[in-house]
Amino acid sequence: MMCRTEQDPPPDTHRDSRRGPHPTDGTASDAEFSALLEDDVEDLYENAPCGYVSTLLDGKIAKVNATLLGWLGHSREQVIGRKRFTDLLTVGGKLYHETHFAPLLRMQGEVNSIAFELKAADGSRLPVLVSSKVKAGSDGQPQLIRTTIVDARDRRSYENELLHRKREADKARHEAEQARKEAEEARQEAERDRNRLQSVLAVLQRSLVPPTLPQPEGMEAAAYYHTASVDQVGGDFYDLFPLGDGRWCFFLGDVCGKGPEAAAVTSLTRYTLRAAAIHDPDPVTVLTTLNTVLHQHYNRGDPRYCTAVFGTLTPGPTGATVHLASGGHPPAVLMRADGTAEYLPTPGGLLVGILPNAPFTATSRDLAPGDTLVLYTDGLTEARIGPDGTRYGDEALLEYASDLAPVTAHKAVGALTTLLESFGDGLDDDTAILTLGINPTAPTGPTEEATCRT
């Protein structure tokens, strides 16, 4: 499609227009072109959108444009031949000019885009970027320095913003590093405290059970203690000791609660049981004595109580007779040499220490060679074995014991330890296990005359 009108100048008029505006056709494009031609070099220099300054090699200002004078607020007379370029800079800028800019200019012949601040007549400062080039004469010798100065206020505020952010980031990184170090030190300190506490607790815990379990003649005894938390003293306890007349006493129990207070009750309980047994080993009497002591000792607003099984073993011609009483404690399990298992229930026994007068009931069994008695705390039966929180329970334990029987005391403890481990996180309480077995081969008899003290 042809769009050119009759008025459009032919293409070759542009050639003519180089000599000036065409006298006859005053079109828009010609007017623009002529305006460009009228933009004389002097005006371009004076009012360029950047500052121009020419200096002698010693820095004296020889020529400067109006733009720069306007920025500085100086008259031409105040500057030409009177000031050096460095006089336009801040003192810090002068130092930088003399130590970096001037040497580089001498060595390279030009330097580009160096940031300075100009000092204006009114004291204000103008951030600029300065580029200089040495102009050499025909003999190659440097004659003067031409310098272009660009307003860099926006650029500088942007850079300052970046610098500010960088400093903040550096500071934040430094602080984060510092905080990390402090946290690490605190962690190590806490770790050391925890280790100290754990070693104290371990010593305390060990003091609540016998360091080594004695082995009555013709019998086998074994025990296991599972500590639920290395940061807490548990409240479970057990003991086995001779009365000196061929009979043996044993007990196992669980003090309500954990921690140092529970440990104190455990300690009191253990020594009360031992002392009471020496005075009169009858199980109901011993538990009654413990009940009195605990109730008197801890009834002032802070009740402390426990569950416990206490019993005696009296050797007989073909084994031993166990006589035991329980205060609120899970019943012992008896695994027979014939492969059966049964609970030894003692119904009606109350928690020890909670009432001034608590009833305890006793029961007896004859143990034959190969029979093994198991005492345990409720950590075993209360262990959670499923995702729904199902507990292991009495029935499962009896079934497990039936499968295990006949078994020696040591092997029973080994099997029960494996069982406890199989519970994993489901085993969340301290658990004590004490097993007493009659040796399957040699029948036991009293080694000395039984002299039960009364």
Binding site: L57, D58, G59, R84, T86, T90, V91, G92, G93, K94, L95, Y96, E98, T99, H100, A102, P103, L104, R106, M107, Q108, V111, N112, I114, A115, F116, R156, E159, L163
Partner: protein, 266 residues
């Protein structure tokens, strides 16, 4: 790394000539001497180097502790003298390096035959009656300028710059490389240079000493040249017809002539 590589030591000129050691100041590197080296090399064995942290030195050898004091720079000078077994050294120190030379000569006077202090200043900051020409705020302003201008330096290029001992052409390609510095290093050097006070050390100078000052120099004004002249007994003061702080670049002939006249008078 040995001292020669560490300080990018260059030896040129007459192998059998007396030793002239040229030490650059704050800002650039040994290239500062390029216009006077030809005249000096005709008569002397010329030793050039970059202080650790400047030019093509080994930046890995730099530490803010050592180079936060002029003694660290003086130690560079002494390390080079020891490594090359230099004796009867004529030490020419530009700007802050003039004071480095004074410190080095005080520690091992037997090594230094003569000192040429080129536009020296023992103290840049005004102090009572003493006029160094600057205030502490001015130095902070300089540090800002350093922060605004990373001459020929970038973290990206630093590995190339540091590792270019065997490929010097890499460094030459970089614009402004003569004055490039890691900004963190430059900041320490600037503070050490402009905040130090070596006035007390001037009296210790025993070697014959030439002080060269410029007719106009904003960094080391003539009052300071007169102060140094008065403080060093028997020193000679020559005022060059030059402007600025780098007469070895702006008036290389006059500078070389003055040095030669002092070290090897005709």
């Amino acid at each position: 790394m040995d001292v020669v590589s560490r300080n990018n030591v260059t030896v040129t000129g007459r192998a059998d000539g007396p030793v002239v050691m040229l030490a650059h100041g704050f800002g650039c590197d040994q290239n500062m001497w390029r216009l006077v080296v030809p005249a000096l090399a005709a008569r002397f064995r010329v030793v050039l180097f970059d202080y650790v942290g400047s030019g093509s030195s080994d930046l890995a050898a730099w530490s803010p502790e050592r180079y936060g004091s002029l003694d660290g720079y003086a130690q560079d000078v002494l390390d080079i003298c020891q490594e090359l077994d230099l004796r009867e050294v004529a030490f020419v120190g530009h700007s802050v390096s003039a004071m480095t030379g004074v410190l080095a000569a005080a520690r091992e006077p037997e090594r230094f035959a003569r000192l040429v202090l080129l536009v020296p200043s023992p103290r840049y900051i005004d102090d009572g009656d003493y006029k160094g020409g600057f205030s502490a705020e001015d130095i902070e302003e300089l540090l800002e300028s350093l922060e605004s201008n990373y001459l020929g330096w970038s973290a990206h290029m630093a590995p190339v710059i540091m590792g270019n001992a065997d490929r010097p052409e890499l460094g030459e390609e970089l614009t402004n490389s003569f004055c490039r510095t890691d900004p963190d290093i430059a900041r320490v050097f600037a503070r050490t240079t402009f905040l130090s006070d070596s006035r007390q050390d001037l009296a210790s100078v025993t070697a014959p000493t030439l002080i060269l000052e410029c007719a106009e120099d904003v960094i080391a004004p003539r009052e300071v040249g007169a102060y140094v002249h008065a403080a060093i007994p028997g020193s000679r003061l020559v005022t060059l017809k030059a402007t600025g702080h780098c007469p070895q670049l702006s008036a290389p002939e006059a500078t070389a002539d003055a040095v030669i006249d002092f070290l090897a008078p005709a």
